[in-house]
């Protein structure tokens, strides 16, 4: 294919060649997988159950038990450097036999790679996966949202409670397939429970307190603020 100028005017019906399906002519299924998928298989033998390439994006289905090690390795290893957690979410399928998928979207800024990790959870088993909060602090609210909407427990999460619905929401997990879209209770009962909630009770003191932020400051900055001395840091 000859190189095209970046902007060409195409009059309908007059295109001399087939217009690619997408800008980079990516196939729906198949194509080159992210090299990380193979690296995970080499590093963690038997942990990878399946590798899918869909629209050029690689999904790796891994064992639940090995997930923590894999994520830690992907983050720390200099050949991978997945330094950004984009999203944590879950997928439940309409088919009741199909397991729930928990999905992690990872991005390596250094190598410009995108990787999708998946863990399959059978519905007959308790829905729980290890938390990646220890590796990515940004997982905190993402995992809370996933817990709130799907009821998946993230083991090791420091503060796993509802984030979108209020504390004490009793109707279940709204994005599950067995959840009726208008909720389980009648409207008056929903309203009664919502009005009974205390708006201020939804935040932990850690979220509101500046004292907590103070402990995370660099040592010399904390010392300077605590003593009020402008000269300590110099």
């Amino acid at each position: 294919m000859t190189a095209q100028p970046p902007f060409t005017t195409v009059i309908a019906g007059s295109a001399s060649q087939a217009i690619p399906a997408s800008p980079r002519n990516v196939a729906h299924r198949g194509g080159p997988a992210n090299p990380t998928a193979e690296a995970i298989e080499r590093q963690f033998a038997g942990a990878v159950r399946r590798v899918d390439v869909v629209w050029g994006e690689t999904s790796v289905v891994v064992d639940r038990a090995r997930l923590s090690d894999i994520v830690r390795w992907l983050h720390d290893d200099p050949s991978q450097r997945y330094d950004m957690l984009v999203d944590v979410t879950a997928v439940e399928f309409r088919d009741p036999e199909q397991p729930i998928e928990v999905v992690w979207h990872l991005r390596s800024l250094a190598y410009r790679r995108f990787l999708r990790l998946k863990v399959l959870l059978e519905k007959s088993q308790p829905l729980s996966v290890p938390s990646v909060w220890a590796v990515y602090r940004g997982a905190d609210w993402l995992e809370r949202e996933c817990f709130d909407m799907f009821g998946i427990t993230f083991e090791g999460h420091p503060d796993l409670r509802r984030i979108l619905m209020w504390e004490g929401y009793r109707e279940g997990f709204p994005l599950r397939k067995d959840f009726p879209v208008r909720g389980r209770f009648s409207r008056s009962e929903q309203l009664r429970q919502a009005l009974a909630a205390n708006p201020e009770a939804r935040y932990s003191m850690e979220e509101l307190s500046i004292a907590q932020a103070f402990e995370d400051l660099p040592e010399e900055m904390g010392k300077r603020l605590a003593t009020g001395d402008q000269q300590v840091g110099e």
Partner: protein, 206 residues
């Protein structure tokens, strides 16, 4: 309230008041109607239209509303612009209770007035009249500034017709202490009933 008059409403016989009182009423109502300070409770795209109404082209200052009161204590009219999720219901209720009398409420847009059908789900209040009393409903998704201004003019007309002898309109409505609701639960269920031909789901509960 949406379908029926306030439960504590008293009928006042007209013509029983002295001439002086009616003239004084007229003066008070005229000054109130032309110095409404709005408390904008904007949660969605209706708030954008509300901002457009307040900006130079439509200019709410013509109606004495140039001062947006972002504190409920200094506000006269609560303009609820946008959908209200259940999580915001106690917040909206508290803001309304913090506003001093006399106070009015405009429900701006289809979401605030009825839940809008497309938000007929587990998270959204089906009409704020199930939480607080509403004086004027402005239809639209979102309403154009002309629509909001028409609603404001309707509210001004309503204020002009108030009578100081009718004490019931200034009385604070107390919610039922057990359920915290103003109107009986069957009425709320009926108000929240879906319209159109969307899926009718069977619900448990009351």
């Amino acid at each position: 309230m949406g379908l029926s008059p306030r439960p504590d409403r008293q009928e006042v016989s007209h013509g029983g008041e002295p001439w002086m009182v009616t003239r004084l009423d007229m003066l008070v109502n005229w000054s109130r109607a032309n110095s409404l300070w709005p408390m904008p409770f904007g949660t969605a795209c209706c708030a954008i239209e509300f901002m457009a109404s307040a900006a130079n082209k439509f200019d709410l200052a013509r109606f004495g509303m140039e001062r947006m009161s972002f504190s409920p204590r200094q506000a006269d009219v609560l303009i609820c612009a946008g959908r209200v999720p259940f999580k915001l219901a106690p917040v909206l209720r508290r803001i309304w209770q913090q506003m001093p009398q006399p106070k009015w409420c405009i429900s701006m847009g289809a979401c605030a007035s009825s839940g809008n059908g497309i938000f007929d789900n587990y998270a959204v209040v089906q009409g704020i009249d199930t939480i607080i009393p509403v004086d004027v409903y402005v239809p639209g998704c979102p309403p154009r500034p002309e629509g909001l201004i028409y609603g404001i003019m309707l509210l001004q007309k309503k204020i002009m017709n108030e009578r100081s002898a009718d004490q019931s309109i200034r009385r604070e409505m107390e919610p039922d202490p057990r359920s915290q609701l103003y109107i009986p639960p069957p009425a709320i269920d009926e108000l929240s009933e879906n319209f159109g031909n969307s899926v009718h789901q069977k619900r448990s509960g009351l």
